[in-house]
């Protein structure tokens, strides 16, 4: 990770960035069943068990300096097997939400993907791949990124599985709900 990204993690504004996850894993006994069950552990720089220990110790820099939580694919095996009955997949979600709120540069490729997906849903009510990808590429400003998706995009379009029309509906059917949810989250 580059130094500025590391500095950014050090100064994450919200003091509770990992607090929610910490409450969720409070009674972790460090048995490692989560690590043994995780299909993505092979690709992680810290195992799930290590991540929960760091969360419990309040090591914010180490937690958000790791890509472990972004690799959770929500298979729920660790949640199913945890002998303490902890909602570990939801704790992973809580970390993803915190990284998204804080807009941490190191995790932007992942968090911007989800954030722009949600923005597209906010505007159109349902997912429109073209609208969503356009937003995502615009935020990422990486000239190579669209290429990574273009092969699948073109194959989908060739099979008639991708609408290449820009959605015309301007109604924003979910606007009221998005707005109310944001107000309530801010108000605590």
């Amino acid at each position: 990770m580059n130094p500025s990204a590391a500095a950014e993690i050090k100064t994450t504004r919200a003091p509770d960035a990992i607090e929610q996850a910490r409450r969720m894993v409070q009674s972790c006994i460090q048995c490692g069943t989560c690590t043994g069950s995780c299909p993505n552990a092979f690709a992680m720089d810290r195992t799930p068990r290590q991540l929960w220990r760091l969360v419990l110790l309040g090591q914010r820099e180490a937690v958000f300096g790791s890509r472990t939580f972004t690799l959770c694919s929500a298979c729920f095996l660790c949640t199913l097997r945890c002998p303490r009955g902890l909602h570990l997949t939801e704790a992973m979600h809580a970390l993803k939400q915190a990284a998204s709120r804080e807009r941490l540069t190191a995790h932007r490729p992942v968090t911007a993907f989800y954030r722009n997906f949600m923005e597209s849903v906010r505007r159109h009510g349902r997912v429109n791949e073209l609208a969503f990808m356009t937003l995502y590429f615009a935020e990422m400003k990486s000239p190579l990124l669209p290429l990574r998706y273009s092969v699948l995009g073109l194959r989908l379009a060739a099979r008639g599985k991708l609408s290449l029309r820009w959605p015309l509906r301007r109604q924003r059917p979910l606007e009221a709900i998005f707005r109310r949810a944001a107000e309530m989250e801010e108000g605590g």
């Binding site: 993505n40 298979c75 199913l80 979600h93 968090t111 989800y114 849903v121 990574r148 109310r180």
Partner: protein
């Protein structure tokens, strides 16, 4: 038998064939689907990664809309991610009235109110338990004789809610596959994760999982799936996965209702087989000896 039907966004686009085949097979089996009017996105795996309250409010909105029709008691959902999002709201609000009021405070912005009286059911649950092999078998006119089908369940229809199957060693597809005249390919990968959205955000990690599943399916004639995300991952990346493993990992990947529909005598066109990347040409001609339909 009538269900509310929540197709979800994928079934309008990248998983069109799942929508076509689900509707066709349910009609052939005499079950009625009432599509939820004005349904919207359930949040997919994006809401839970960005905002916890929206992750509950978005699926809740669809349940609240469906509840207006008091005569129907269950929602049928073919997509496993949508299913889990809707199911999570149903399960959590049942146990937590304060959460229900919080969700209703959000839905109030649209004058909607969730009571929490609907059952949320995955398509596989309905096919395997509500209808069952006994309802399907007598309607089979083109048995899938000798076809070895590997049942692939994925994760979110099995976990965390063990609603209709063993969440670690699932078997609910097996009697259905046998009812079609096909054989169940024995393997242990049915409930292993396909990498889900990691195929979009962190492809190297996702590809390993896809390659592992496809490699384990060698020897089967077809893979059966019950989720658009699993289908996309296993159907569209066989070339890249094969290069990773240096092996030929090509296999026909079909949605379970496509396979059921074939056995029920529905056409490949009706079932949308032209939309599957891995199905090249006429599935029937390649895999099955032509059998004359049973006399009625």
């Amino acid at each position: 038998m009538i269900y509310h039907y929540y197709p979800g966004c994928s079934l309008e686009g990248t998983a069109r064939e799942y929508d076509l085949s689900t509707r066709a097979v349910m009609a052939a089996l005499g079950a009625e689907l009432a599509e939820i009017e004005g349904w919207t996105c359930c949040g997919a795996s994006a809401a839970e990664s960005t905002n916890a309250l929206l992750a509950l409010a978005l699926p809740a909105r669809n349940l609240a809309k469906a509840e207006r029709h008091a005569e129907i008691g269950a929602v049928l959902v073919p997509c496993s991610a949508c299913y889990l999002n809707l199911k999570t709201v149903a399960e959590k609000t049942r146990k937590d009235p304060s959460l229900l009021s919080k969700i209703n405070a959000v839905l109030g912005a649209e004058q909607l109110r969730l009571q929490g009286r609907l059952q949320v059911k995955h398509l596989l649950d309905v096919l395997a338990k509500d209808l069952g092999p006994a309802a399907i078998h007598p309607k089979v006119v083109r048995p899938l004789d000798g076809l070895r089908i590997a049942p692939y369940y994925g994760c979110q229809c099995l976990r965390p809610y063990a609603a209709f199957d063993d969440p670690e060693a699932p078997t609910s597809m097996e009697p259905l596959i046998r009812a079609l005249g096909a054989e169940v390919f024995r393997w242990s990968m049915g409930g292993r994760c396909c990498g889900a959205a990691n195929m979009n955000t962190q492809r190297t990690a996702g590809m390993e999982l896809v390659a592992g599943i496809l490699a384990a399916a060698r020897g089967a004639d077809a893979l059966a799936t019950v989720c658009p995300m699993c289908q996309m991952n296993l159907d569209a990346f066989q070339g890249a996965a094969g290069r990773l493993r240096q092996a030929d990992l090509r296999i026909d990947v079909l949605y379970l209702p496509q396979l059921i529909g074939l056995a029920l005598g529905l056409s490949e066109h009706e079932l949308g087989l032209r939309f599957n990347f891995s199905v090249k040409g006429d599935f029937h001609r390649r895999h099955l000896k032509e059998v004359a339909p049973h006399a009625a």
